[in-house]
Symmetry: C2
Subunit: 246 residues, 2 copies
C-alpha cells in the first residue's frame, strides 16, 4: 500500500475541531476521510499530527494515510481541491516511506496565536484572533515567555482533562511580533499538552495586561497546579502553523 502525506490548511470556524467524533459530524478529519474514501473507493483513515480544538485553525496540519489508490499525487490533490469545502485546502500531496507516521515522527510543532489589540476589533480578524481592547505590554510578555523556554513539567499549563503519562515538554522558542495592532505569538516546541498553547497565551495576556508579573509565570510552572495559572485563551486565535519531522 502507498503511504500518502499531505499538508492541510483549514479555517476551523465552522468545525467541531480536527478529531472525528462520529460519522457525518462537522470535523476536519471526517470531511477529509469522506472525500478521500470516495476518491479511493475504499475506507481511508487518516492520521493527523495532532488534534486542533473546535474553532481553531491550521495553516500546516500534516496528515498521512495508507491507500491502494494508484492515482498520481497531482490527481489526488486536484480531486481534493474540487470536492473539499472551500475552508479546507490541501496544500501539498506526496508519497512517502511506508514507515512515515504524522504523529509519532513529529520533531517540532509551531503554533501561531493571534491577538487583535485594537481598541475596537477589526471585522476582518474576528474569526482569526482573540480581541483584547486594552493595550498589551509586549516587553513584559517577552520577559515572561523566557521562563517557559526549555524543558519543563507543564502540568499547570495543561487542561485537567489531559491524560498524558508525562507532562514534561520542551519549548524551543516563543516569538512575539506586532504589526498594526495585531499581536502574533509563535510558539515552537517538541510537543504540546491539551490546551497548553492557549493556557500559555492566557498567562502571557495576564502579564501583558499587568494583572500578573513576568516572574509569576515561573511560579505557575513550579506549582504544577492548573488552578494556579491563567485562563485558557479563546480557540479562534489559535493556528497550527508548522509541523517539522525527523
Amino acid at each position: 500500500m502507498r503511504n500518502i502525506k499531505m499538508i492541510v490548511a483549514y479555517d476551523g470556524s465552522r468545525y467541531k475541531g480536527y478529531q472525528k467524533l462520529g460519522d457525518n459530524d462537522m470535523t476536519i478529519q471526517e470531511k477529509l476521510e469522506s472525500v478521500l474514501s470516495k476518491m479511493a473507493n475504499e475506507t481511508i483513515e487518516i492520521i493527523g499530527s495532532g488534534r486542533t480544538d473546535m474553532g481553531a485553525h491550521a495553516r500546516g496540519q500534516v496528515i498521512n494515510f495508507k491507500t491502494n489508490c494508484i492515482d498520481s499525487v497531482d490527481k489526488i490533490q486536484k480531486y481534493l481541491y474540487e470536492y473539499l469545502p472551500e475552508d479546507i485546502v490541501v496544500k501539498t500531496v506526496e508519497e512517502v516511506d511506508e514507515r512515515f507516521h504524522s504523529r509519532y515522527n513529529v520533531k517540532s510543532k509551531t503554533y501561531l496565536y493571534k491577538i487583535d489589540n485594537n481598541k475596537y476589533h477589526s471585522p476582518f480578524m474576528r474569526k482569526y484572533a482573540a480581541h483584547i481592547s486594552k493595550k498589551l505590554d509586549l516587553d513584559r510578555m517577552r520577559k515572561a515567555s523566557e521562563y517557559l523556554i526549555g524543558e519543563h513539567d507543564f502540568t499547570s499549563f495543561a487542561s485537567s482533562k489531559s491524560k498524558k503519562k508525562s507532562n514534561v515538554r520542551e519549548i524551543y522558542s516563543i516569538n512575539i511580533k506586532e504589526n498594526d495592532d495585531i499581536v502574533e505569538i509563535y510558539i515552537e516546541g517538541n510537543g504540546f499538552l491539551y490546551n497548553m498553547v492557549r493556557i500559555i497565551v492566557g498567562a502571557l495576556i495576564d502579564v501583558g495586561l499587568k494583572r500578573k508579573a513576568p516572574q509569576d509565570v515561573k511560579h505557575m510552572l513550579e506549582s504544577k497546579d492548573r488552578s494556579k495559572s491563567s485562563d485558557t485563551a479563546p480557540a479562534k486565535g489559535l493556528c497550527l502553523w508548522k509541523v517539522k519531522y525527523e
Copy 2:
C-alpha cells in the same frame, strides 16, 4: 444640529453593498442608520464617501450625519459597538464643522485590491481576495499601471451603467506589493467611476497573466470603449482603504 463624522470598517461578505436599497435590507447603510436612529430617537440619514459593491469591504469608509443627539462621541461609539453586528465596526467618531460633507469634500480615495496568488487558495483569504492560481508577473503589471497614472478619460474602465457627466478622473498612484503569494494593489485617485477599480485590476491581471501587453492598457484608455478593456475583477478582493479630505 451637530454634524458627526465616523470612520467605519466592515466585512462586506454578508451584505448587498453599502447603499441602502429598501428598509430592512442587508446593506451597510441600512444597518448603520437603523442603529443610529434608535440611539438618537430620531430618523438619521447618513452620507457615505461613496458606495461599495455587494461583497466588497472597507477599512476606512467615511460617513457623516446630522443629529440632535447630545451624547458624547465616546458614548456614541460605545453604543454603536454594542448594537452593530460584529462585521461592522465604527473605528472613530468625531464632531465636525457643519459644512463637512463626506462625499463632496473628498480629496482622494485609496482602494486596496487583494489577489491570492497561491496555486490553491488560502482558506483564510477566500472572502477577502480574488484567487488567481497562475503566477502573476508583477513587473509587467507595474509597467501597465504607469499608463493609468495621471488625468485620463476612464470611460473604458467604467461600468456601462455609470451615468456620470464626465468620465475624467485622476489617478495619483498605483502600488503593487507581494508577500507570501498575496498580491496587494493600492490605487489612489481623486475619484472613481462605477466599477473602475475592479476593471483596472482586471486589466492588470490580464497583463500579469500575459494575455495582454502592458502597452495594451494605453490602447484601452484611448479607445474610450468599455468593450475594449478587461473583465471586472471580483468584488470580494476590493476594500475601500482610506479617504482623505481637504
